[in-house]
Amino acid sequence: MSLERKDEHDHKGWMESRELSPLESIYLTTLIWLDKRLRVVDYLEILEDLYYKVNMQMPKSHTEQYNLDNKFWYWYPLYALGSFSTIAYIVAAISGALLGFYYAPAAAAADGSPTVAYDSVMLIMGQLNLGYFLRSVHRWAAQVMVAAVFLHMLRVYFTGAYKEPRELNWLIGIILISLTLVFGYTGYLLPWSQLSFWAGQIGVEMSLSIPLIGEWVAQLMFGGFTLSQATLQRMYILHVFFLPFITTALIAVHIGIVWMQGIAEPH
């Protein structure tokens, strides 16, 4: 006796009962032959089943419980911006780690000839297989992350999701958006191009304009009042060592708190 479930459908003979043209018969037979061997559809069905079973474990959301979905569904994309930022961050991290194999943060030539850093970026863009693609992915991930994080903040603000008991996570979010911007700024300086250099100069002067502690901040962040190897080195270490650790840890805490408290839903 077979444990296989029985149903009415004639699994073997159904194709004869159809009026199929020869081409359609061949087409279907070929695809079914492939499917029996590769079993892609079976695995996709397992995934689908898994998705529904996991979903059954989730508590009913506020909108489901009170049947608000028909009024509220058009806001739902905005609730994806946090995940979107995280995905952009992961993409930037992976592409950045790969770029790190080819980039060198050296501003060695001070005599007007191109620096090592700039040359390494040119190498990535011009010589390296898929280098142009890799750096483009990294840049776009950064742009998307800044935009998504900002829109995520607007969504949280305008749906009142920052209110009690979620004030702490709002504050962590403020820190995270600042870190994102610092990530962007330090990365902007790394190619050590004209744009990078003068953006760095602006940074130094903005630091110096801070009352009382301006000179100290400029020394700490830029390694002096004029741009030098120290500046580039600091930007590099901030970009690939300090910020990744701090930001990753804070994102983990940020998401962990959302996990514990649940998503703030509209009322």
């Binding site: 009962s17 159809r18 695809l31 892609v40 996709l44």
Partner: protein, 112 residues
């Protein structure tokens, strides 16, 4: 084959081929999934592979006309066309209940 009340034999597969309407073939759901998944996979790989071949044949569209590898370029274009045809062909298959409700009714909406 089943028979409806008027005694006219109809096939379970309503393979309609009315003028102006594209042919539809009703298949079991499981087969429909197979068609969707594999035709999409074949189409994607064919089209991407075709573009790669065209790129190779024309040195990324930078080769002068005299240095284009014609057989490879034609093979590439052919592969792109093949992917397109496979994908387009797959659109005629559907399951029960997937048609427009007026077409899925027992009677055809041809005013008798």
């Amino acid at each position: 084959m089943t028979e409806d009340q008027s005694g006219v034999p109809t096939t379970e597969a309503e393979a309609t081929e009315d003028a102006g309407r594209s042919r539809e073939v009703v298949v079991p759901l499981r087969v429909y999934k197979t068609v969707t998944v594999f035709s999409t996979l074949i189409a994607v790989f064919s089209v991407v592979g075709g573009f790669i071949l065209v790129d190779v044949a024309t040195n990324r569209a930078s080769a002068p006309a005299s240095e284009i590898d014609v057989p490879v370029a034609i093979a590439g274009i052919g592969l792109i066309l093949l992917g397109t045809v496979v994908y387009a062909f797959s659109t005629r298959f559907r399951t029960e209940e997937m048609g427009k409700s007026k077409d899925d009714a027992d009677e055809l909406s041809d005013n008798g």
